[in-house]
Amino acid sequence: MSDDQSLLSRRNALKCMAFGGAGTLFALSGGVFTPIDLAMAAGDKQSAAKLGKPLFVQISDTHIGFNKEANPDVAGSLTQTIDIVNGMDDQPALIIHTGDITHLSKPAEFDLAQQLFSRLRTTEMHTVPGEHDTSDAAVTEYFSRFGKASNNKGYYSFDHAGVHFIGLINVLQFKPGGLGTLGADQLEWVAADLKHRSSSTPIVVFAHMPLWTIYEPWGWGTGDADQLMSPLRRFGSVTVLNGHIHQIVQKVEGNMTFHTARSTSYPQPVAGVGSGPGPLKVPGDQLASMLGITSVSVVKHPSALTLNDTALA
């Protein structure tokens, strides 16, 4: 990919921000990442189509089964999302779903979600569960459908186009009264998985709950995520992608970029505003601008990734 491409996407980003969407532009830091949020004018789907070849698209928090006022038609929102992804001129190589596929872990909800996903032109999807996916009494519904990649452990890794992807689970082991955790086994596994890899390998880590503490009173964090940073720190490019909070929050620390995605279902309040992280009702015409996906592209091979957030409207 040439420098022209990254200039072009930056120009597009600025153009799209002029349409009145909220945008956050982070300067290149050490030539590693440029996370760009794009909220695009309704009907300007052309811009999404011309974002350049995405390596993958992150979809999160689809909450199939949710049916309350904040969004009575989450299946419709997911369908709209899939149409946007399918409409991209260059299709992503793969899709990453960062969890809360369903709202209540019900079989019918998983079935409908999988039915909708089957409409994606990109057929390769990698998932990690959210806490809404593991809330059935026996905790089997998610794993019976998506557990194969991780032998039902919930964590696994794979490689694509020279990028190393690590899927983690942080919704099953929790401290009562506290945050979810990764647990000793999973942390040990990550260290072993990374041990012999070259530091120039771009790493993408994806998990449902934020892997840094955004707001502890609402459970927006992972209790032992600090221990995850040790084996990751030496790599030249690390992208940490999470969901759960239904809004975009970002942090760049040296070579590591942390980024949470919007949901495709309903917004949540900003940290601390209200009694808890429940569904946030917004005027109907604002809803689509608060839902969206994140597209991740390789800009300067081999070491840099850019993130582009696209809203549904």
Partner: protein, 113 residues
């Protein structure tokens, strides 16, 4: 309208049925029974004292689903949507801590005497 002794009789019969099922999820029903309301991401009361043999019912009044999970795996509801309930009969005296597995900051205790 059912009043007085008839209402008490119906309540007692309901308790017997719920109790014999161990734990169960049911559509919300009016009850005079030991109850924990789940609202605003809190269990209220946070500590409830009951007599051995009592059935405690949790009812979710939030827009967000919650679960009731015993810290010792003694009981575990599935996801409770708004207005759904979960009941469990406590036969042995003791102190029973529980959490919501979706929002683990939420904790509560049942003290059985």
């Amino acid at each position: 309208m059912i009043v007085g002794p008839a209402r008490l009789l119906i309540a007692v019969l309901s308790a017997a049925i719920l109790g014999s099922m161990g734990g169960s999820i049911a559509a919300a029903a009016e009850t005079d029974f030991p109850k924990v309301v789940v609202k605003d991401f809190m269990f209220t009361p946070m500590s409830l004292t009951v007599k051995a043999g009592s059935t405690v019912t949790w009812v979710n009044m939030d827009d967000e689903p919650h679960t009731v999970v015993s810290n010792t795996q003694l009981f575990r509801s599935g996801a409770l949507d708004t207005k759904e309930t979960f009941s469990f009969r406590f036969t042995e005296p003791g102190t029973y801590h529980f959490t919501c597995s979706i929002h683990p900051r939420m904790v509560g205790t049942i003290v059985v005497q």
